[in-house]
């Protein structure tokens, strides 16, 4: 930690640490780190389910407001207790296990899905001192945890022994696997330029402001912008969110791989989906939006975990906003988008990032040229591949019958 960072540690910044030491203080030496880890786990297990609860409420309220209606406002003041009402309803609902189902897999699927998505929450740096698990290969751990959630989706689809849920499970797998590639490739430039796989290292690499108000976030570079866009689109697909929520598309295969689930297991699936959404947007914040860094130097009095929360919530709001606006893509279009559009763009983004890295030494005069070239390297393939991909689609003009 640089000297300047230490004296910046206001008491608010160190609050979580002081609280933890307060709790873990009396425990004798060797057992203390276990208690500290248990506290960290307890905090994550408390914060994220609560965030999930109020996220469902926020989603229904924002969706309602976009559709000119109030959203839930009957339970509690302004609908604040709605998530708990939903929770109780889900708990009291009957949990039907189909006779032909494979009971072990049927039970294991939601449990596995939730546990894998919870695992991936362990490495995201929520604040300057708030990293539950500071791993050297944290980014790899994150994607290892979220990659095995495909297994649980397959288990859910297969265990139900239902023709629709199996079809939907196969679609879900195809979608998850083909979007894993652009997801990972879009973060490779970040790792390359930050030189480390550890999330806190990446956040530290984005520290500092040039001229006081321009933060060194990755998104404020041409390759960062493209990488962020690809990462968000792929994150939408990984979390089965709006334009890609094919697996549980109501208009086609009823409830996809969730058809055979009811009661609290059904709620667990949605909890897992929201955890995956939070985890992926947390990772997007860490990689591209400078983690817990403040946007402007003078605003540093706000604690670091505050900035992380603001960025995370704004990304989640973006997820909800997109869900309210866009229709769903068909399975073949979804695949074509992943393999023929996002993947090539992600690969070209590597070239842009390397150009950006090599041209770091250019003088101030050459900055506009550097930016121009960087943006061209991003925009030109986008337009060319975009036009080739959407041949035959486009706005049309209509003629009128002769009177």
């Amino acid at each position: 930690m640089t000297a300047e960072a230490i004296e910046l540690d206001s008491w608010l910044e160190r609050l979580p640490l002081t609280l933890r030491d307060l709790l873990a203080g009396p425990i004798p030496g060797p057992w203390r780190w276990i208690v500290q880890d248990v506290i960290a786990i307890a905090v994550v297990l408390a914060v994220f389910p609560l965030l999930f609860a109020f996220l469902t409420l926020a989603e229904r309220k924002v969706l309602g407001r976009i559709q000119n209606r109030p959203g839930p406002n009957r339970v509690g003041w302004g609908g604040i207790l709605q998530p708990f009402a939903d929770g109780i309803k889900m708990l009291t609902k009957e949990d039907i296990v189909p006779r032909a189902a494979d009971p072990v897999l049927h039970f294991l699927a939601p449990v596995a899905l939730v546990s894998f998505s919870l695992l991936s929450l362990a490495v995201i740096p929520y604040g300057r001192h708030l990293v539950p698990l500071d791993l050297d290969a944290g980014i790899l751990y994150f994607f290892a945890a979220s990659a095995s959630s495909e297994l649980a989706v397959f288990m859910a689809g297969w265990a139900g022994r239902n023709k629709y849920s199996l079809l939907a499970a196969m679609r879900a797998l195809a979608q998850l696997i083909s979007y894993e590639l652009p997801l990972l490739l879009s973060l490779v430039p970040v790792v390359m330029l930050a030189g480390t796989l550890s999330p806190s290292g990446i956040v530290a690499a984005q520290a500092g402001w040039s001229a006081g108000f321009l933060p060194h976030w990755n998104i404020l570079t041409p390759w960062g912008l493209a990488g962020f866009a690809i990462f968000m689109v792929a994150a939408l697909a990984e979390a089965n969110r709006s334009p890609f929520d094919l697996p549980e598309a109501e208009s086609e295969l009823i409830a996809g791989h969730l058809t055979e689930y009811s009661g609290f297991k059904y709620a667990l699936f949605f909890m897992a989906e929201y955890f995956a959404m939070c985890a992926l947007s947390g990772m997007a914040v860490t990689l591209f939006l400078g983690g817990w860094q403040a946007p402007v130097a003078i605003l540093q009095f706000v604690p670091s975990y505050g900035w992380f929360a603001i960025k995370l919530l704004s990304l989640l709001l973006g997820f909800i906003w997109i869900r309210a606006t866009l229709p769903r893509l068909r399975i073949d279009q979804l695949m074509r988008l992943a393999w023929k559009f996002l993947l090539p763009l992600a690969l070209i983004n590597l070239v842009t990032a390397s150009f950006w890295h090599l041209s770091a030494g250019w003088g101030a005069a050459a900055q506009p040229l550097r930016w121009g070239l960087g943006l061209a390297l991003v925009a030109v393939p986008f337009v060319v591949i975009g036009r080739r991909l959407s041949t035959g689609l486009g706005p049309r003009t209509y003629r009128y019958a002769a009177p």
């Binding site: 494979d102 072990v104 897999l105 791993l135 050297d136 290969a137 790899l140 751990y141 994607f143 290892a144 945890a145 990659a147 095995s148 495909e150 297994l151 397959f154 288990m155 297969w158 196969m170 797998l173 696997i177 894993e180 030189g195 480390t196 796989l197 550890s198």
Partner: protein, 170 residues
Amino acid sequence: MNATLVLLGVFIVATAGTALSLQNIVRSVLLLVLSWFGIAAFYLWAGAEFAAFAQALVYGGAVSMVVLFAVLLTRRGHQDATVAPPPPGRLLAALLAGGAVAGIIAATVIRTPFASVSDEVPVLPVRRLGALLMGPHAAALLVTGALLTAALLGAVVIAAGAKDDKEGSP
């Protein structure tokens, strides 16, 4: 011998063993995937974080999907539904092959001098790993890369070919 090592070894062998014995093929595949996660846990115990997460990501995420897709998409043809009892010759050949492979492995295990397990294990930071991979071991990395790409292209060609056969037979 270290207790956790034994525990992990038993876990891996047990899950792989029961995977072989199960009737329900999907459950056996899932048990196999569990044993892969056991191997990842072993790497973690051994202090190789990078290898553990790579194992979990590659095997737990991708290879398990390939195996499951293969299990689901191969259709049992009518002819191989009933498994004919193995003629005595085939049984003998199986024993021979199995014995030979087991013998070679046992021989190498016995003859190689294992270094004594020292307590502190040097934890390699990922950056150092990267330098090593790109430096002295670059050739090995590129060869495996080329091999994997060739395998992938071969699979695509075979799969594309298979679609035509399916089209032909009504």
